[in-house]
Amino acid sequence: MKEPVYEVFARKTREEPLRHIGFINASDGDLARVYAWKTYDEQNWAEMCVIPRSAILPLDPGESQFVTAPHDEHEDEIVHSRATGSYGGGDVAVKEAS
């Protein structure tokens, strides 16, 4: 059984926008919330959210880090990912090779 991917978003104050801080694998939303909190809790977040990667619809799938394989048994498999992957949490912004 392959676990779905959940993207993790958070903000430090109510005023600032949510920003993407990483991802976790979890079998359901409850566990995704726990894992996100326990994995990325080193900062004092005002709010944290998890979103199933499969719910994100990129306008340009060729350039997106959130693309999942469409409508097959590996629906949640990552087919293109370059921005996430740090279990250390915090800022995982893309650093393109120059």
């Binding site: 676990e3 694998n25 979890a26 359901d28 894992y35 326990k38 279990y87």
Partner: protein, 284 residues
């Protein structure tokens, strides 16, 4: 109903408490602290080799939470005449008052899940009864602890659902749940215990153990029902909403002070709880 001055007053220090309340309050706090410490140890044994990396990270964090809760709870005993550091680091195994269900380690991931769902939640149910305590040192510390425990419950419920879907593990999970349910219910105590009655009368603890058991079941039984094991564990929903345990709670040999019916923690576990390996490095 008019509230009397006595009912409205709070106790900021233990020496303001009636004499016959201090001992049962100490018993309760020590049982909570010891149970938290041993639960943290049991969780820590599952940090490595968890089914997924995320589950291991969360187990590690939960173990740390439990030890944080234990330390916070031991610290409360300073006001009641104890030396918290001595309680943490200098007692032999037979003096530990941890819940007997944790005398042995957690058996597999099913055991981890069952303990997180049934034992951890029983401890939370007892802490929750202190949330509005008139003894303010307790009252002030419980909310943050319970906020952290919400994640432990979500974790346990999520893994119970996950394991229940795996045919070869479902029986193991049911047995682990059966092993913990009655001891967890009993650990919440007896209504007739004189010390507990005084704690309730003085507003130190919100209500009697049977009410606590009902709230505990209201929390865990829907999860057990959701995964289809409630009836097998002796849980019935009456009047369409209230969950009841139809099994017998065994009070034979029960000690209201220690919340145990004999037996004791093994010395090896106590040595880990005391931190024997790093004793030379203990700091004030």
């Amino acid at each position: 109903m008019t509230e009397t001055l006595s009912q409205a007053a709070t106790y900021d220090k233990a020496d303001q408490l009636p004499d016959d309340v201090r001992a049962p309050l100490r018993d309760l706090i020590l049982a909570l602290a010891d149970s938290k410490r041993v639960l943290g140890l049991r969780y820590s044994d599952k940090m490595l080799g968890a089914p997924t990396l995320e589950a291991g990270i969360a187990a590690s964090s939960m173990a740390q939470d439990e030890w944080g809760h234990a330390r916070l709870t031991y610290a409360l005993l300073g006001d009641l005449g104890d030396e918290p550091k001595a309680l943490e680091h200098e007692r032999v195994a037979s003096e530990y008052r941890s819940i007997a269900a944790l005398d042995t380690g957690l058996d597999g991931w099913a055991g981890m899940t069952a303990a997180a769902l049934l034992v951890d939640t029983a401890l939370s149910a007892q802490y929750a009864a202190l949330l509005d305590s008139r003894y303010t040192p307790v009252h002030n510390r419980v909310q943050k602890l319970l906020d952290e425990e919400k994640f432990h419950f979500q974790y346990a419920a999520g893994w119970a659902r996950r394991i229940a879907q795996v045919p070869e593990l479902r029986g193991e999970l049911t047995e682990a749940l059966r092993r913990y349910l009655a001891p967890a219910l009993a650990w919440l105590g007896r209504d007739e215990a004189p010390g507990m009655r005084r704690l309730v009368e003085e507003g130190i603890v919100r209500d009697e153990p049977s009410a606590r058991r009902a709230r505990y079941l209201a929390r865990v039984a829907p999860v057990l029902d959701d995964i289809g094991v409630a009836a097998a564990l002796g849980l019935e929903r009456r009047d369409g909403s209230t969950w009841t345990f139809t099994g017998e709670l065994d009070w034979n040999g029960w000690d209201d002070a220690t919340r145990r019916a004999g037996g004791e923690l093994d010395e090896e576990t106590a040595a880990r709880a005391r931190g024997d390996k790093n004793r030379a490095l203990l700091m004030d």
